[in-house]
Every structure is written in C-alpha cells, then in structure tokens.
C-alpha cells in the first residue's frame, strides 16, 4: 500500500510539471507575450548619467528616452526624434552672441545653440516617487512595498535636471570630462556643486543651481549652448546620458535608509520609455514590463533595401511595443545558454566558438549557411558587421617601431603586411570578421567600398577583390628599413619585437603561436609579454609597450568617433586620451579639426580620404578587422534587426507566443525510460549485496 501511495504522489508531482518538465519559467507564464533573453555580466549602473557599457544600455535604453533615437531599419544610421518633436537644428553664434548663417566657417562659430522641443503629453511610468508615502518608510524593503504610486507629465525641466546631474559630485559620469569641453558653463557648474553638496549624502536639489549653457525656455522646450561647432553633439542626444530624470526620483532615493536597502536610482531606473523595470535581481534575473503610460510610437514604414522582403515592414504603422514583458535571465556560462536556446527557452542567441560548427557551415564558395539541424528547427541567421575595429597598435613613442622616420614607417608597413588578417579571421574568428582597410568600419560615413576603399600600402586589387601584398614586398620594406632578413644591416643583431597582451591560457597559446609564425615569415622574432589586464593598461598608459592589441566600439556612427583614436591631442601618454598608439601627425590633426566640424558630404569625404591616406602610409596600427556579429533567432521572433548604435530595439520586436509554446512542447517531451533504467540499475547493484547479506546471515560459525 505504501508503494502505491508513493507512486500516486509521484504521479501528482509529475503531472504538476505539465507537458514539459525542463521549462525554467513559471507555468503561469506559458503562452504569454514574453520575450526571453539572457545577460552574462551583471550591470554595474542603471543610472543614465553613469551607465555606459552595453550590458547596462540593454536595460536603460528600453526605460529611458533621450530626445533623439536612431531609425530602427534605415542604414546608414539616421537620427530621428525620440521624445523630441524633431531633430533640433544647430543655430550658430559668434563670440558676441550674434547669429551666423548655417554655412558659416567653423572658425567663426563661437557657440552653437540647440533648441529641443519635446512632445507634450508624455508621462512617466507609475512610481512611488510621484506619490505621497507613509511617514515611516523603514518597513519598506523594495519599491514594490511602497503602497502608493503616481506619475506626472514629462517637462523640459527634467532634461535640464539630468544634464546637471552629469556634474553631480557624487555621481561618476564617464562623459563629464568630454561634455565640460562643449557645454557652456558645465565645468564651473561642477566645481560649484562640489561646495554645495551636503556632507551627509542627502539630496542635492540641482534645480536651485543654474547652469549657464542649459536653460528651460518653456514647459516643453529647452536650449543647450555648446562651445564652437560640434555636429556630433546630436548623437549624444540619442544616448541615455541626456534622457530626462525627474527631480522627485532623486529626492525619493535620497531619503535616509534607502541606500542601505539598495534602493537607489542607480538600481531602480524611472523613465518614460516603453518598458519599466519590475524585477531587479542582477544576480539571477531582470524583468521589464510594458509601461502602462507609454505614449505608443508607430512601427516604421521605411527601411533599407531588402527589409520589405525580409518581412521587416509587415507591422508598418502598428503601435509599439508589441511585447508585454521581457525576461532577462543571467547565464554566466555559454553552454547552458546555447542549450536553452536550442530548447526554445531563449528566443535569440549569438554563436559562441564552441557551438559555431553546430550552428553554421561554410560552403565551398565561402557563403555562410545554417546547418541542417538549425534549419529543421526553423532558426534564422542574421549577420552584421559591428561598428567596431580591432587592431594592433604600435607605440609611436618607441625608439624602434615608433617615430616619423622612413625606416620606422617601412618597418611598421612590413609587419602590417606580414600579419595575414584574412587568415586570422578564418582560423580564430570562424570567418566572422572583415579585414580592416582603415579605422572606419562599414556603415560609417567615410568607409568606401571596392577598389577605391582599399589600403594601397597593404593590398593590391586583383580579380575584383583586395589581395594582401606578398611576403616578398614585406621583406623588401624590412630591408629598406635597415633590417634585411630580420637582422640589423650594420650590427647583424636580430630584430626582436615585443607584443604586450592580456591573452593567457590554452586558447591564447594557439593565437600566439600563429602570430610568431607571421613574424617569422619576414625573419622577425616576436616576444609575447602576457600580463594581467591591470598591468597591461598601466603599460599602455605609460607608453611602456611596443606592440599591443586594442579595440574600439563606436559611441555613435560618425567617422570622428574612429578617427579621433589617432588624433594627436588624444595621445594616451601625454594627455590620457584614447590615442593608445600616441600617434601624432600635424597634417592629420589639422584635417581632423576641420573634418569633425563638418556635415557629411563630398568635401568631408575628400578630407577623410586624405586622412586615411596619411594613416595608411604611416601605419601606426596593424589594421586588424571589423568583427561580424552572427545572431540566431527562432521563427516565432520577428522584426528583429541588429543595431549597433541604437539599443532601444525591444519595442519593435514581435513574438508569436502560441507557436513558441507548441514548438517548445514538441522539442522538450520528457524521455522517461532513463528513469526506469536507473531504477533497474540500482536494483541490479543492490541485488548481489542483498543476496550476499542473506547468505552471510544464514552461514554457521563453524565450517562444514
């Protein structure tokens, strides 16, 4: 009878699991309009003045709404209004504040005004900060515990308040230094706030402190005055740094006892966007839910060529967002993430190196296709070139590889030719990359396709495609540099180049071996100095490196954001800037100053072309590659288009929850025979023991 009881209990428990047993989500969520995705690194900051990394923007971009945003479908990337009514037009002023014509010379422009008009009627998500709360809040431990919620309309004051928060003495905005150079009065404002900040960490009411360069014009418009001409400023207006923050939120979170409970604005964002954060456990899962007060944008009706055929315009004009809830689950390891994607528990996934062969096959012609298994599951592949560049930098302060001499230049060119980036991409990136011809990746103004866009110092144009120059050319350049066959022409000493890298371990060894092989092709000895990340950064800062690996992800889709990486006044050693190679070329710097203040057009392209010619000739970098992103998605997830600079993409995506539910049940039917097998196995193991025990118990103490 007891056995029957256990069997009944087991049956009830198993029945409660439903048709699938391995579903990691609550049964109540089955069939709901929810997007399931994952995050690997826990976000450090969700406060828009501090948040900068992609891990963080994945959340903040869905919650906070800056004045501008990127068009979801059009490429090249195009700025469109977000909370603003239109993309603001620059108004140029001279030193006395008199207006200048639109085509005024950049040198005459002392200031630029941007007047931003916002849409009336936008409201914030429901939040306790907008409602009266009981006097004693000590018993509330999460935001959900607060009994009252309220909202209010978005006003221009909130945008100005957020810009002031960039200079808040207790916040660490990564762009404060940059913005101090541009926004009039921000530097002085930051200094004055240091004196005003309450010592006890209480609320600093920024509304009481005027910022000369930013002012509210009326309830729905405000003006930002920047120094000189800086057209790229508009791109910053599409980032969460410039999204509105209500002063009530700052006041609410400054109450005593809130920080001790981790109830800070840094962890509980409050915005006007399509989603609001309703569950915040960065250790396990984060949940975004539809903001009930969201104004409802319309899905775009235009895109680039091919979007209509790809079905990306099917929802033209429909009200956003389509998805009710987005569940982000933390997956620290790639293997569980990948397997759960294959089971249908994640709607989309990247492809790690471990699972590349399982997902993708390369045809004889080089075209990339999904494997049979992926196609059978209805999985689709989307590829896109990232707005990133990976490179090896020469330290231009180094006496051997740096400097402006012809010998050093030829040495750098020889090394650049010898390192076969195409082979590297094929072996170590599974083909997921595009060999770089310059710092500018595809999709950014200034990038030129085809023959006109190749680096003539490294490539020849053969049979309609670029072909890396031969090792013989590299050897010749090396000999002309004074190192025939990799030995000093005078002393006969071998040429030894030191590479600093953070790569260690088994995976790195094969790359290092490959690199050694590349250098040996021209007789150069490579010494790899593997070090930890901190020491590596320190060596780069101090200029104690010769050759090093680096990379850059674009902040915004403008060539200035790549070409400044080689701008003299950005030198890492002298100015703590982003020019890690410490490259300086007077003509390049002059052209950069001219180019960065220009609108896109033929003249700007001509200047960029000249700048790239200088760079290619001087070769301060070994031009590496622009990574390609491969994304897989299930058939039930539609309207998904990769965007490398616009991150507020969840509102456009569409889920067919019924199909997902059906396929999940089909793919995850529990296999029960192993349970029986395990039971039999245990019985098989126990049987000899039981028999042996009984035999012993029956044995007599005296031998027969």
């Amino acid at each position: 009878m007891r056995l029957v009881g256990y069997m009944l209990l087991l049956s009830v428990l198993l029945a409660a699991c439903g048709p699938v047993w391995n579903d990691p989500y609550p049964a109540a969520d089955r069939g709901r309009n929810i997007l399931y995705t994952a995050f690997t690194e826990r976000p450090k900051h969700l406060d828009p003045v501090q948040s900068y990394s992609e891990d963080e923007v994945a959340f903040t971009a869905q919650i906070y709404e800056p004045p501008l945003q990127y068009h979801y479908l059009k490429r090249p990337y195009e700025l469109i209004p977000g909370t603003a009514l239109e993309v603001p037009k620059a108004r140029y002023l001279d030193g006395q504040g008199y207006p200048l014509p639109d085509d005024a010379d950049a040198a005459r422009i002392a200031f630029t005004d941007y007047v931003i008009r916002i849409r009336p009627g936008i409201v914030y998500q429901p939040h306790p900060a907008f409602a009266e709360q009981p006097a004693d809040i000590s018993r509330f431990h999460t935001l959900a515990d607060f009994p009252n919620r309220g909202t209010r309309e978005l006003t221009a004051d909130d945008f100005v308040y957020e810009i002031k928060r960039l200079a808040h003495p207790r916040l660490h905005s990564p762009i404060l230094g940059l913005m101090e150079e541009y926004i009039v009065g921000l530097g002085d404002f930051a200094k004055s706030l240091k004196q005003s900040a309450p010592a006890n960490g209480g609320w600093l009411d920024l509304r009481r402190h005027p910022l000369s360069g930013v002012e509210v014009i009326d309830k729905y418009s405000y003006r930002i005055r920047i120094k000189g001409k800086y057209p790229q400023f508009l791109y910053w207006l599409a980032m969460p740094f410039f999204a509105p923050v209500p002063w009530e939120a700052d006041r609410f979170h400054s109450q005593p006892g809130m920080a001790e409970k981790n109830l800070t604005l840094d962890w509980y964002p409050i915005g006007t966007g399509p989603y609001m954060l309703t569950e915040n456990d960065p250790n396990a899962r984060m949940v975004l839910e539809r903001n009930p007060g969201y104004r409802g944008e319309a899905y775009p009706c235009e895109g680039e060529s091919g979007d209509r055929e790809a079905g990306l315009l099917a929802d033209c004009g429909k009200t956003l967002p389509f998805i009710d809830k987005v569940v982000f689950t933390r997956e620290k390891e790639q293997i569980p993430y990948w397997n759960k994607f294959l089971q249908g528990y994640y709607d989309a996934s990247g492809i790690s190196s471990d699972s590349f062969d399982q997902a993708v096959q390369v045809a004889s012609g080089g075209e990339i296709t999904l494997t049979e298994g992926m196609r059978a599951q209805g999985i689709s592949l989307t590829t896109s070139v990232a707005t990133s560049t990976m490179y090896m930098g020469f330290n231009m302060h180094d006496p051997l590889v740096g400097g402006d001499s012809e010998a050093a230049r030829k040495l750098r060119q020889a090394i650049s030719i010898a390192i076969d980036q195409e082979e590297f991409i094929s072996i170590f990136q599974n083909g997921r990359g595009l060999a770089a011809q310059s710092p500018i990746p595809p999709g950014i103004f200034g990038y030129v396709e085809g023959r006109a866009g190749i680096n003539p110092d490294m490539y020849d144009w053969v049979d309609g495609k670029p072909r890396r120059k031969s090792v013989e050319v590299a050897k010749r350049l090396l000999a002309e540099a004074g190192w025939p066959d990799g030995r000093n022409a005078k002393s006969g000493e071998p040429l030894v180049i030191n590479l600093d890298t953070t790569a260690t371990g088994v995976g790195a060894k094969s790359r290092i071996d490959w690199l050694n092989k590349q250098f040996l092709k021209i007789g150069v000895q490579l010494v790899v100095r593997s070090t930890d990340y901190n020491r590596f950064q320190e060596k780069v800062r101090k200029g104690a490196v010769q050759l090093f690996y680096f990379g850059w992800n674009a902040d915004y889709p403008d060539p200035e954001n790549f070409l400044f990486l080689l701008y003299g006044p950005q030198g890492k050693v002298k100015f703590s800037g982003e020019n890690a190679a410490n490259y300086a070329n007077a003509e390049y710097d002059r052209l950069f100053d001219e180019m960065r203040a220009m609108e896109n057009g033929p003249r700007r392209q001509a200047i960029i072309d000249r700048m790239l010619t200088i760079l290619r000739h001087d070769a301060p970098w070994v031009w590496g590659f622009h990574p390609k992103d491969y994304t897989l998605r299930h058939a039930w997830l539609t309207n998904r288009k990769p965007s490398k600079v616009g991150h507020n993409t969840l509102k456009y995506q569409h889920i067919d929850a019924a199909t997902r539910e059906r396929l999940r049940a089909e793919w995850n039917r529990p296999v029960l025979w192993p349970l029986l097998l395990v039971a039999l196995l245990l019985a098989g193991i126990a049987a000899p023991a039981i028999i042996g025990h009984r035999r012993r118990e029956r044995m007599s103490g005296v031998a027969d």
Partner: protein, 325 residues
C-alpha cells in the same frame, strides 16, 4: 567548557587579523586602487580626475598600510588597511564598488547557496557512509573490489565533466529538468534536483574511500571481535559499534564543513545559474571588488573557526572520555 569556548573565540581574533592582512596584501599586490577605479569606471573616457574622485569617495586615496604624513597613531589608522578592517570586525562590511550594500547582498544570496549546499551535504554524507559501510560489510569480496574500483573511477573524473555531462544528458537529451536557473520557494525544487545529484555523485568516490578506510580500521579492533563473540549480527556490529566509534574522525572532517555551507559552491552555482554566495565571490574577484572579496574571505575564515570549535564540541557529545578545559 564555556571558558574553553571563550578562549577559542579570543584566539580567533589574531587569526582573523592575520587573514585580513594576508588578503589585503595579496589583493593589493595584484590590484592598485587606480586599477579598481578604472575597472569600475570603465575603459572609455576615464579621466585622471574621475579616478581620483572615485578613490577619495571610497577612502582609497589613503596610503595602504602606513601613513607617513599623519602624526602619531594616525600614521597607522589613517590607512586603507585600518579604515577598511576595523568596521569589518563589527560586521559592517560597507558597500560593494557598485554601491550595493554587502551585508544585504550576502543575506539575500545565502538562501540559494544553502538550498544547494544543505541537501548535497546531507545526502552526500548519507550516501557515502552507507556505501562505505556496505563495502566494509563485504570486505575482501568481489563486491568490495568493484566498489573500490567504482570509487576510484568516480574520483578520477573532473567535476566539470559531471556538470556538463549531467546537463547534457539529463536536461538536454532527456528533458527531465531545466538546464539552469533558479526560483524561490517550492519552485526551486526543479532547479535543484540536477545540481544536487551531480554534486553528490561527484563527491561520492573520495568520501566513500575515506570512510571505508576509517571503518576498516575500526573493524579489526578487539571490541568488534567481542561484539561478534557475544552473538551480535554483523549489521548490529557495523551500525551499533563500528559506525559509532568511527564518528570522531568522521566529525573532524564533517562538522567543520557545516558553517562553510553558507559560502556556496563556485562551480555549481556558476554553471547552474544559482545566485548564491559562490558566484558572488567569483564575480567580485573578476570585478576586482576588494570590499566584497575581503568580506567574503573574512566570513569564510570566521565560519571555518566556528566549524573547528563546533568540531571540538561535537567530540564531547560522541565520546564521553573527551573533556574540553
């Protein structure tokens, strides 16, 4: 016994100071306060002013161990080591570098860690002791031989293999439980089944061999022969006498582990997405978050000391001859 306990707790103070000093030295040999600031502020557009500001806010702008500029006692107290260590002895762990309260974070993550560690501990101990007694019962037979072979084979396989293989077979191929994840309350059960089984299986080889050795040592002693001579069954001899007398060495290895169960499991939590203290420690090490690393090492040391004390006390419970003075 009370005096003994108080004395042992007082001994713990210099040990904890020493552990704290070693952790401090090891951490700052590898990471400087500037490195920590850069790690938190990101790699893009970080200015020297921002780094100085970050350090000043968190008290990392002081000298590490000795402040030559400060007068008198302040030379020792106005240092990073002193300022960061004193509060910890009052269990004030402060804030992580990302601003979150460490004590609250530890309290939140303790439950998931225990949800895995307690069943693993209890089931693992039960399974290993039972299996070891079984092998001892059938000592010198083919069952014992193949049991030992099985244990050696289990010991020889990497823990990572059990995890990846278990996830692949049980979750991916047989679809019996979720591959990873965690939920609170009763929903936690379906996420815990696999990590618990894998942990128990992964640890059974070495534990069984250890207990088997202890039991074999006992089974040859005179009192066992006497018990048999009295006519007791082999089962009564094993469970009533051998197991009881082998408890002291078992307790030496087991009781000390009980407090450490709070610390969680690094590998299991990471692969199964369990938001416990093990993964908290790993995250902190990766993020160079000294405040969290120091707090976790401190708590780990404290729990270890408590575990040793409990072990001593447990001896008095299982062996009446033991007196703590």
């Amino acid at each position: 016994m009370l005096a003994y306990i108080i004395r042992r707790l007082l001994y713990a103070l210099p040990i904890l100071i020493g552990v704290n000093l070693i952790t401090f030295a090891l951490f700052f040999v590898v990471n400087s306060p500037d490195d920590m600031a850069r790690m938190q502020l990101g790699v893009k557009r970080v200015t020297p002013e921002a780094i100085e500001k970050w350090k000043a806010e968190r008290g990392y702008d002081r000298p590490l161990l000795w402040n030559a500029q400060a007068p008198g006692v302040a030379a020792a107290t106005e240092t990073i080591f002193f300022q960061k260590s004193v509060k910890m002895f009052a269990f004030d762990f402060g804030r992580a570098d990302d601003g979150r309260d460490i004590a609250r974070e530890i309290a939140t993550r303790m439950a998931p860690s225990l949800a895995v560690a307690l069943p693993v501990f209890a089931l693992g101990l039960f399974a290993a002791v039972t299996f070891a007694l079984l092998l001892v019962y059938f000592r010198a037979s083919y069952l014992d031989f193949w049991g030992v072979v099985f244990c050696v084979a289990m010991m020889s396989v990497s823990g990572l293999f059990y995890i990846i293989g278990g996830q692949w077979l049980v979750s991916k191929v047989w679809h019996l439980v979720p591959i990873s994840g965690y939920a609170g309350g009763a929903d936690a059960a379906k996420f815990l089944v696999l990590p618990v089984i894998i942990s128990v299986i992964g640890g059974i080889g070495s534990s069984t061999r250890w207990y088997r050795t202890l039991f074999l040592e006992e089974i040859t002693k005179d009192y066992v022969r006497t018990a048999r001579a009295k006519g007791l069954s082999e089962r009564a001899v094993l469970f009533g006498h051998v197991l009881r007398n082998a408890l002291i060495p078992i307790l030496t290895g087991v009781v000390v582990l009980i407090p450490l169960l709070f610390m969680g499991s690094l590998l299991i939590e990471s692969f199964f997405g369990i938001p416990g203290l093990g993964s908290y420690t790993i995250d902190a090490i990766n993020a160079q978050d000294f405040a969290v690393v120091r707090a976790m090492v401190f708590i780990g040391s404290l729990l270890y000391i408590v575990g040793l004390l409990l072990t001593d006390i447990s001896y008095t419970l299982v062996d009446p001859r033991v007196r703590l003075q």
